[in-house]
C-alpha cells in the first residue's frame, strides 16, 4: 500500500470528522434557546393507550405500573394494556394484582397472557387491542415521570408528526458502569434532540415512545423478527415521510445492563440490528427524505467505513508495514507530533466538550466529572469492541439473540 494513499485516507477521515462536529455545533447554537421547550399545550386530552409487553420482568414491574397509574393525566382517558409474553416468573401475577386494584380506582387496565414470541409480537398483540387516538409503547423495566404525556402530546399538533420520543434516562446509582451509561444516555439524548431539528430521529426508544395510533395502519406494526424493532419502526415511519419529534422534558427512567457482559451483548445486538436496518433503508438516500436521507443515513455508513478503515490502518501499521517502518514508528512514538496526534487531540477535546455540554444541558442532572472524564477516556472506546464483535458475528452469520 502506498503511504501517500494512507495519508489521503487520514485526511478524508479527519475532514469528515471535522465537518460532523461543526455541523452538530452549528445546529446546537442555532436551536440553543429552544431545545428545552415544547409546543404550547392545547389543553385537549385525547385518549392514550399504553401497551406494556413483559417477559420475566417481575423484579421491576410494580415500579413500572405504579408510575403509569401515577401519571398526571385523566384516568378515564387512559387505557393500559399489559401483555405478558409467556413469562415464567411472577410477572403475570403481579400485573393482575395491580390491574385489579387499579380497575377499582377507575382505570381501564387489562392484562393479557400469550405464548412467548418476542417483544415485537407482544407489542403488535397489544396494539391490536387499543382504542386510544395515541398509543405509547413501554418497557416493563422502565418507569415514568408523572408529566410525561403532557410534555409529549403537544408535539402532535403538527399533523405530520407520528411519534414523539422522551428523555430516556438512568437514575443516579452507585454502580460505576451504570453511571457511565448514564453519561452516555444523556449524550445520546442531547444528540437526538439536536438531530430532531433536522428531522433525523433514528429511533423510537423501547422504554417509552408515543405514537399516533393511525400510523400503524399506514406503515404496519412492529417488525417481529427485528431485534432492534424500536429503531426499525422509526426508520419505517420516516420512510413514509412522517416526522418524529424528540422531547427532553418528558423524563422516563430505565434499567441499564449491570455487568460488562450484559452491556456487551446488548450493544452488539444494537449495532448488528442497527447496521442491518440502515442497510435495509438505504433506499431513503434520496433528496425527498431531506436531511435524514441525504445526511444522517449516509453518515452512518461513512462513520462505520471510517471506523473499519482506522482499524485497518492500525493493523497495517502494526503487522503489514515493513519491519523497519514499524520499528521507527515505535521508536519515535511521542517524539513526533503529526496529523494523527492533532486528530486524536481534536477528537478527545471535542468529545469531552460535547459530553460536558450535553450533561450540563440537563438542568438538575448531577454527574460526577470523574464519570465524564472516564467516559471520554475509556468507556467511549468500548465502541471499538462492539463494532469488531458485530463484524465477526455478521461474517460468521451468527443467529440473532436477545
Amino acid at each position: 500500500m502506498d503511504i501517500d494513499f494512507v495519508l489521503l485516507i487520514n485526511y478524508v477521515i479527519a475532514f469528515i470528522t471535522l465537518f460532523s462536529v461543526n455541523f452538530f455545533i452549528l445546529l446546537y447554537f442555532k436551536h440553543k434557546d429552544s431545545y428545552l421547550t415544547r409546543p404550547d399545550d392545547s389543553g385537549i386530552r385525547p385518549k392514550v393507550s399504553i401497551v406494556i409487553p413483559a417477559y420475566n420482568e417481575g423484579m421491576y414491574l410494580e415500579q413500572c405500573l405504579q408510575s403509569v397509574l401515577s401519571l398526571d393525566y385523566p384516568k378515564e382517558k387512559l387505557e393500559i394494556i399489559m401483555v405478558d409474553d409467556g413469562s415464567t416468573d411472577d410477572t403475570c401475577k403481579i400485573a393482575k394484582n395491580i390491574a385489579a386494584s387499579a380497575e377499582q380506582s377507575g382505570f381501564n387496565f387489562r392484562v393479557f397472557t400469550k405464548e412467548n414470541k418476542g417483544k415485537g409480537a407482544a407489542l403488535n398483540f397489544g396494539i391490536a387491542k387499543i382504542s386510544g387516538e395515541f398509543v405509547a409503547t413501554m418497557d416493563a423495566d422502565s418507569y415514568l415521570s408523572p408529566n410525561v404525556l403532557l410534555e409529549m402530546l403537544p408535539y402532535f399538533e403538527d399533523k405530520n408528526t407520528m411519534a414523539v420520543t422522551p428523555a430516556v434516562k438512568i437514575a443516579p446509582t452507585r454502580s460505576w458502569l451504570k453511571e457511565l451509561q448514564r453519561v452516555e444516555y444523556l449524550m445520546i439524548l442531547f444528540s437526538r434532540k439536536i438531530l430532531s431539528f433536522v428531522d433525523s430521529v433514528p429511533v423510537t426508544p423501547g422504554p417509552f415512545s408515543l405514537f399516533r395510533s393511525s400510523v400503524f395502519s399506514v406503515v404496519g406494526g412492529f417488525d417481529e423478527k427485528n431485534l432492534v424493532e424500536d429503531q426499525e419502526i422509526a426508520l419505517r415511519i420516516q420512510s413514509h415521510n412522517f416526522k418524529i419529534h424528540s422531547s427532553l422534558t418528558a423524563e422516563v427512567y430505565t434499567e441499564p445492563p449491570a455487568g460488562i457482559g450484559e452491556l456487551l451483548k446488548q450493544r452488539v445486538r444494537w449495532q448488528r440490528g442497527g447496521v442491518r436496518n440502515y442497510w435495509h433503508y438505504r433506499k431513503m438516500i434520496k433528496p425527498e427524505y431531506g436531511d435524514f436521507g441525504m445526511y444522517f443515513i449516509p453518515m452512518n455508513f461513512i462513520a462505520l467505513a471510517a471506523f473499519f478503515t482506522i482499524i485497518g490502518l492500525l493493523l497495517y501499521s502494526f503487522f503489514i508495514a515493513p519491519y523497519y517502518v514499524r520499528y521507527i514508528w515505535v521508536q519515535t512514538l511521542g517524539m513526533n507530533i503529526d496529523l494523527f496526534t492533532f486528530l486524536v487531540i481534536f477528537v478527545v477535546l471535542s468529545t469531552t466538550i460535547f459530553v460536558s455540554v450535553a450533561v450540563k444541558s440537563f438542568k438538575g442532572e448531577k454527574v460526577n466529572p470523574i464519570y465524564i472524564l472516564s467516559f471520554v477516556a475509556f468507556y467511549w472506546y468500548l465502541m471499538f469492541g462492539y463494532n469488531i464483535l458485530m463484524l465477526i458475528k455478521e461474517l460468521r452469520q451468527e443467529a440473532f439473540s436477545w
Binding site: 501517500d4 461543526n22 455541523f23 452549528l26 445546529l27 445526511y295 519491519y323 523497519y324 513526533n336 507530533i337
Partner: protein, 219 residues
C-alpha cells in the same frame, strides 16, 4: 434540507482543515530544525570527547588513557543513544511521512561517521567488546535494502538480549554524501546492500541468522 448549516459547516471545516495542514507544515518544519539543532549539539559533545582523547594521546601515557576509559565509554554510550534517536526521527520523516531533506541527511551522516570513528578509537583503546556494523544501503537502487535494514535491527535486538552489543551505523551510499563516499571507498563497497562488520566487508543480503553468525565470528 438545512443547506445554510451544511454550507457554513463546510466552510468552517475547510478553514479549520487548511489551518490544520498549515500547522502540520510548521510542525514538520520545526521537526527538521530540531533535528538539525540536535545534530549540531551532538557533534559538539563528540568534539569534546575527541579533544579528551587527543589530549591523552599527546601525553603518551597508556595508563592514563585507560583510566579515562570509563569516562569515554559512559559519554559515548549517552551520545550513541541520542544519535540513534535522531536517526529514528529522521527515518520517521523520510519513511513514514515521506518528507525528504538531503542536506539534513548528509549532516546526520557526518555525525554518524564521527560517532563511528570515535567508537572505533575507544573500542581499541579501552578493549571494548562491542561490534561495529555499518549498513550501506541505497534508497534509489536497491530492492533488498529495506529487508536488510529490518534483518539487521532484528539481529541487533536479539544479540542485545544475549549481552552482545552491536553499534549500528547506516549510510545511504547514493546520496552523494562525501563522508559516506569516503567510507565506501575505504571498505570497497560497490553494491547494495553491503555491510561492514568490524572492518570486514560482506556484500549482499544476509538474514537475521546469517548476520548473527557473521557477528559471532567477527568478535
Amino acid at each position: 434540507m438545512s443547506w445554510s448549516i451544511y454550507g457554513v459547516a463546510l466552510a468552517l471545516s475547510i478553514v479549520m482543515f487548511l489551518l490544520g495542514i498549515y500547522v502540520g507544515q510548521i510542525v514538520d518544519s520545526s521537526s527538521k530544525t530540531d533535528i538539525s539543532k540536535d545534530i549540531s549539539a551532538l557533534s559538539q559533545q563528540m568534539a569534546s570527547v575527541q579533544l579528551l582523547l587527543l589530549a591523552d594521546s599527546t601525553q603518551n601515557n597508556a595508563s592514563s588513557a585507560t583510566s579515562f576509559c570509563p569516562v569515554y565509554l559512559s559519554q559515548l554510550s549517552a551520545i550513541d543513544h541520542q544519535v540513534e534517536d535522531v536517526g529514528y526521527r529522521l527515518s520517521y520523516l523520510e519513511d513514514v511521512k515521506h518528507l525528504y531533506d538531503n542536506d539534513l541527511k548528509k549532516q546526520y551522516f557526518l555525525l554518524e561517521a564521527q560517532s563511528y570513528f570515535l567508537s572505533k578509537k575507544v573500542k581499541t583503546l579501552c578493549n571494548e567488546n562491542s561490534v561495529l556494523l555499518i549498513n550501506f544501503y541505497s534508497n534509489s537502487n536497491c530492492a533488498k535494502c529495506n529487508d536488510q535494514g529490518a534483518e539487521i535491527l532484528k539481529a541487533r535486538d536479539e544479540l542485545l538480549d544475549k549481552k552482545v552489543k552491536v553499534k549500528l551505523f547506516s549510510f545511504d551510499g547514493d546520496l552523494g554524501s562525501p563522508v559516506a563516499d569516503a567510507l565506501k571507498n575505504q571498505y570497497g563497497v560497490t553494491s547494495y546492500p553491503s555491510i561492514v562488520i568490524n572492518d570486514s566487508l560482506y556484500p549482499g543480503y544476509y538474514d537475521k541468522t546469517q548476520l548473527e553468525k557473521l557477528i559471532a565470528g567477527s568478535k
